[in-house]
Amino acid sequence: MAAVTTASERNETQAFRAILPQLAPFVGILAIAMILPFVSNDYWALIGTRAAIYWVLVSGLNLVVGFAGHLAIGYVALLALGAYTTSVLVAGNVMAPVPVFAALPIAGCVGAVFGVIVGLPALRLRTFYFAMSTLGFATIVTQIALAWQSVTGGGIGIAGPEFPAPFDTAWGYYYLCVAFAAFCTWMSANVAHSRFGRALIAVRDAEVAAEATGISKPRMLIAIFLFAGALAAIAGGLFASLQTYITPDAFTFDLSILFFIAILIGGRGSILGPMLGTIILTILPEIAAPLAAWSTFLYAGLLLAIVLAMPGGIAALLDFRNRRPLASNRAIVPRPAALGDIARKTMGDKTAGDKTLSLRNIVLSFGNVRAIDGLDLDVKPGQVHGLIGPNGSGKTTTLNVISGYYAASTGTLALGADALPAGRPEVRALRGIARTFQTPRVIGAASVLENVMIGGTVEGEATFVEALLALPRHWRDERKLAASARALLGVVGLEALADVRADRLQHSELRFIEIARALMLDPDFLLLDEPAAGLSGDEIERLGALIKAISRRGTAVMLVEHHADLIFDICDQVTVLNLGRVLAAGTPAEIRAHKEVVSAYLGV
């Protein structure tokens, strides 16, 4: 018992030490922000306050743009919305006046609602379309602010809210805004380093794989749109107070561009980068006064330069860790024996070993081509089931039907006695079905460890709010996911590369990352789509041993493969497809002796 405690304490210290270099820049920026009042004048108070307010908005928007990858350009609309809501509530020209510290949360709620409304199109629309729709929204809010004179004061404007002492001086207000900014940084960092942040990046860079791990894109996006909208509106309230008087002119499109470009200059998927980006873009026009008129041109030029020359932004520049060269001639040595140390779960109805995945009379056509033409197939627990056949015979299509990317036009799909809904790939993970892809779908920008942790997203218990505020359940989730991800990386033989960006790895290593990711679910069914493609002879042999070990734990493995040796070596059952139909099925020995199969494919 005592030993366990010391071990976990040591792990905590280690984890703390690992996090320290990441934390240091933030502490440094905060320290500079704290001493700014003692070394400068009121002019810098204004600029510092503005940077802090912008960062309150950008820290939320960063999750939308930098992490989820949605090009929300028109966020000045939500800033304006928050500014007007706070001002109108405090001024009391519509209803009884509200104290400013009550008005801000109300504005936050309004902003959250509109954040979702603005963001909703992102659930259906692709990049350019979404950018356009946020742009359209920004135009409309300005027009409404101009036209709705009884509330907003139209072109004449309305007085911004005043904060009570001690926040009524320039530096007092500065400290308040810095406190808000620091709090928002902390929250957005919590989200970024939770399963939600990882899932956002997964949806951005590998949407298909994210679905297979059970990530629900709509719920995820709505949560961050709520958060980003609330922060933007609160930033608006603070902004209105700083301006002391607001008109629609205060919310020019240039501001939107500043927010958006700060994130891209900073680098996607980073928090420090966009923070530096915000500070730089806020200060830039100030230190070069003649440039003020050209500020938008400057921002745009910077954006163009970043996109063309340095798509990773500031964050990539500061990422020293991933510049260290990796050892060449790395060989992957999986340790199937280590699987034994990882306990199998038996949760609820998901008891391994008694369910068969059965396909009955599946038909799927693309146009006039029948890719699958009346397929019957049973995959039994604890077996390795090989699926072979020539190109175009429907192997991968069969996997895609099982994992829900294609909905068969007729036929049934059942897991034990329960029918599996056709289509709907995102419900497969919870039913214990995991898969890999023919071309590995890995998040290049995330570390190997994070890639594997993605596989366990549905197992997390903490809600978005718990993750936001870093409550105990969030930490428990994180520890559990990281521990099992590290253990599985050990099983597939990649533990030495855990902290490396995945896009620096070799193709064969990506295949093993995918297997580890799929195993995070502790699946009852593991679908492998050509896992041996691109592997060396030795690696294929080790892969075979790994697959066997997985199946011996009661997981049914379905293997689509072209390497006949591997198939006949490790499969318990083999099904041969041709033109979407079963040509032959049986044990490897039976298939080897099957006349048609032999003459057609084995070329003997």
Binding site: L71, I73, L120, P121, R124, L125, R126, T127, F128, Y129, A131, M132, S133, L135, G136, F137, T139, I140, Q143, I144, L146, A147, E207, V208, F253, I257, L264, A293, W294, T296, F297, Y299, A300, G301, L303, L304, V307, L308, P311, T396, N400, Y405, Y406, F437
Partner: protein, 285 residues
């Protein structure tokens, strides 16, 4: 009132349709939607006013120089914002690079030309009231452009090469078509179409730097409604949008017409993301 709605609606709709065709022309050879489409139309008005009013050139010379200027901006778009990011089309970097270029064009115009709308000269002087040339000119320009494009695409070798590249880039390159030159040519063509939109709509929209952002949105709506790369869809969508917007403008007032257009845009896109006349999406897995 009905006559005014029809006149302004068709005129605005024709301009939106032309901007939509500008988007489509760039998209067809490069698979890129460019934020510079609206800016090209804005420049059509600004260049026209600059050449004819500020410099006092004859109409035909001004028209020719305007189109030349817009074509050059189109080619610059291809070189600066499109070609470098084509390699990684799936990362959608073109959204950012073309946005950056569009903002730079807009800012330079705002500073060098001014932020106030400036007049555009009368070109022909035919018609008055609802038959004023500022209403029928965009419609005529739109019709002529469409006929010209149809002729180009169906009867000329270059036009067929455009179609081939739009249909299947890889196959077209395998046949030895000069894909890169054709792409540059299509961006020049897009510049000309945008220039025609701005020039013919100059009397209606004036020479105003902020028209760029406005036309970017209103020109994109017909593309989204009609389906990417579908010129017929863009024409129908553009005219319908113009009529809808002007009807709302006359019936319920300016702000609500913008809200109505935006709501229509979002609703249609959520219901039919590929557009009303578009084809379905590609395979994902």
């Amino acid at each position: 009132m009905l006559a005014s709605i029809l006149a302004t609606g068709l005129a605005a709709g024709a301009i939106y349709a032309l901007v939509g065709i500008t988007y489509n022309t760039m998209f067809s050879t490069s698979r890129v939607m460019s934020f510079t489409a609206g800016q090209l139309a804005m420049l059509g008005g600004v260049f026209g006013s600059m050449f004819m009013l500020k410099m006092g050139m004859p109409i035909l010379v001004g028209f020719f120089l305007t189109l030349l200027g817009c074509a050059i901006i189109g080619v610059i778009t291809e070189f600066v914002a499109v070609r470098p990011v084509l390699k990684s089309l799936d990362q959608h970097l073109y959204v950012l690079s073309t946005l950056a270029l569009a903002l730079m064009i807009q800012q330079v115009t705002a500073i060098k030309w001014g932020t106030e709308p400036q007049p555009f000269p009368r070109l022909i002087g035919w018609g008055s009231g609802v038959w004023d040339e500022k209403f029928w000119l965009p419609v005529a320009a739109c019709a002529i452009t469409i006929i010209g494009l149809e002729y180009l695409y169906r009867r000329t070798l270059v036009g067929r090469a455009f179609l081939a590249i739009a249909e299947d880039n890889f196959a077209a390159r395998a046949l030895g078509l000069p894909e890169r030159n054709l792409r540059v040519a299509s961006y020049a063509l897009a510049g000309i179409v945008g220039g025609v939109a701005g020039f013919s709509g100059g009397e209606l929209l004036l020479a105003f730097f902020a028209n760029g952002a406005l036309l970017n949105f209103y020109g994109f709506v017909p593309v989204a409604l009609g389906g990417l790369g579908n010129n017929r869809g863009a024409i129908i969508g553009g005219l319908a949008l113009g009529l809808f917007q002007q009807a709302a403008n006359f019936l319920v007032g300016g702000i609500f017409s913008s809200v109505a257009v935006f709501a229509l845009f979002i609703v249609v896109l959520l219901a039919a993301p590929q557009g009303l006349f578009g084809s379905s999406t590609a395979r994902r897995v």
